[in-house]
Symmetry: none
Subunit: 211 residues, 4 copies
Amino acid sequence: MTISSPRQKRDPEETRKRILNSAKKEFALKGLAGARVDTIADRAKANKRMIYHYFGNKEELFQKVIEEAYLDIRSAEKKLNIVQLEPIEAIETLVRFSWDYYLKNPEFLALVNSENLHRARHLKKAQKIIEVHEGFVLMMKEILNRGVKLGIFRDNIDPVQLVITIASISYYYQTNRHTGSIIFQRDLMSPEAQAERLDFNIDTILRLVCS
Amino acid sequence: MTISSPRQKRDPEETRKRILNSAKKEFALKGLAGARVDTIADRAKANKRMIYHYFGNKEELFQKVIEEAYLDIRSAEKKLNIVQLEPIEAIETLVRFSWDYYLKNPEFLALVNSENLHRARHLKKAQKIIEVHEGFVLMMKEILNRGVKLGIFRDNIDPVQLVITIASISYYYQTNRHTGSIIFQRDLMSPEAQAERLDFNIDTILRLVCS
Amino acid sequence: MTISSPRQKRDPEETRKRILNSAKKEFALKGLAGARVDTIADRAKANKRMIYHYFGNKEELFQKVIEEAYLDIRSAEKKLNIVQLEPIEAIETLVRFSWDYYLKNPEFLALVNSENLHRARHLKKAQKIIEVHEGFVLMMKEILNRGVKLGIFRDNIDPVQLVITIASISYYYQTNRHTGSIIFQRDLMSPEAQAERLDFNIDTILRLVCS
Amino acid sequence: MTISSPRQKRDPEETRKRILNSAKKEFALKGLAGARVDTIADRAKANKRMIYHYFGNKEELFQKVIEEAYLDIRSAEKKLNIVQLEPIEAIETLVRFSWDYYLKNPEFLALVNSENLHRARHLKKAQKIIEVHEGFVLMMKEILNRGVKLGIFRDNIDPVQLVITIASISYYYQTNRHTGSIIFQRDLMSPEAQAERLDFNIDTILRLVCS
DNA sequence: CATGAATGAGAATTCATTCAT
DNA sequence: TATGAATGAATTCTCATTCAT
């Protein structure tokens, strides 16, 4: 039996992933300026030098984190197979998904806020992101069309406005949960409050699309 | 006769205000961690030392900025005299106000995001804010009641959920304008896009409240 | 009586000068890449931060050092009032000056070498340097002209080539004194060796210019 | 059948040479402190580990480069077979050689400058170098003697001073070509300027040695 | 012999804050 | 009240070198 070495196993892909995960947390928690490279390295149990080796510098690491975040949410949503659902069910599923995804991935909200603080200068460089989202809007358009044909949805709803609205009502509630809980003097994130809000959101969107 | 001093005029209140304004811009632009005390002082044409004199330190300055921001939006909204309007008109006015205020005060959005990144720890200390917002929810409740009595509004709408929803659909659109413009491949802030969104928002809310 | 404060006296001009002097030594000793900002600050008994405050960064500090070095040698040479001397005396004085200046300012040699390693990219930015040297070449031209008129100098000597040659024979000897002492197995910088070389140099140049 | 390896061919001597060449370039370009081990390895298309395997460390590699450089210049000069030439032709050939060698091997100049910055501490360890140069001075002595006997050279010229002077006037011109071109506001390395300087140098040396 | 991931020491630079005037 | 020089603690980033495979 030998004493285990303190050195990291030589698994570059693993190391890369650990750094990326650690960075996601740190950037979400502190923003780009507030995040500490040291903290990222420590949490990743990686040598700080590796961050520069794999990602160039702090800003490029942030960019990679942003890219991955946007790819992940679309990839999760694709798994829902929404196209196979009835129009109303499809819409409701999307509202639920939006709520649940933000709930399970609160870093996503923080990262998007950070990226907007930086005027989306990192996202601009990510071609893949644009392509992935075109499909998303088309899918929404298709759902709306089907609903209109079935006589259950209103005509002439802009799919982009709808997509934005669905995101808004979950996003805002959750991203502003701290200031909101103070201003409204209630715990916006208690299980009951959560359930209530999700229902309210589904209602809001269905009233918006149904004829 | 004395030689005129190159120093700043000794108007303490003025200096304080200039610092506060400069800080608001800088914090909105860069967040708490990214903001630079030097930049704030320079833009305020004040000596850096004055910041510490008047506000203690960077973080307390941030807190003051946050407080002022929340007081300002409610003070602006109060000037609308919404209680005197018809229920539908009142609601529409609030939706418009929400949109316009964010448009004219984009720093507000950035500051609120920053404050939530910091888990509202600065806002927690501001007693005044809580009081001011209680009034706001009560006013919304009163509008809803009147609408219900007139038979034009649905019953049992939670004024807090409504207030949050009204804010959401304007806030999200504007705070995420940079990432949104990339993802949806359109300029979300062109005059036409703005008009379209405001209409959509009014529609969304009216469908939500009207019976 | 009070205990003297460990803090530096608040004399900005003094601080600047101390940094510049310290930097000159360090850059001459180690080159741009080998020099340490910490060492410069320590030797200047200044806070490292002051280097960035006064000079921007390491490279800009280097640039300032180079500029000053070139200005200093010309300023020293101007004090010789060479134009008032007889042609032969003038030439001999210049050869002596060249030798002595390098001897008393060995950093100059090292700095010029460093700057050439960096392809003169710092000197390029210094307009003053060019102006100062134009005057130098003109002065040499005037000396040569007078010598020709008096029938003691050869005609058609390019003043620039002469200036370069005068510098060469002192510069090379001194800047390569370490490798030279090894290769030639003698101490090139012993007092006797120095005197011998200076005589040799004067002889070399007079044979070159005299008819 | 085996799958061909992507590795470098296992030719140790070749690898060593590639590293040495790459190092020469890098050290000449950046100096000892500024040179990067990574860059040397990359340019040599060798693994960084090989540098340590063959040369120990960065400094020992530098030492080897310096040694080789000094051996090369003397070896090139020996090929001239100067001893077989007439005294004047011999001297002129040496002046030309000095000029041409520096021109074709600009790294030599930079390396010598670097080594002097480091007070020749690497050269000191190279016994071979000393031996080789003893021969060089003896050869110069012999040429001078022959010239004196033929009545064409002056008596009592120190061969070491002459050797140094011949090197000086080419070396200085070329090593300071960047700062020189700025200071004198002319391109010192244009073909015309080069030809002119070489002629000037030959003239300078012949006037020095001829009686 | 060859590879390239990993490391730790250190270097440049930044920044909020304090102090002498 | 006002100024701006000075400070020290971080923070990002770099680099020669070593180790597992």
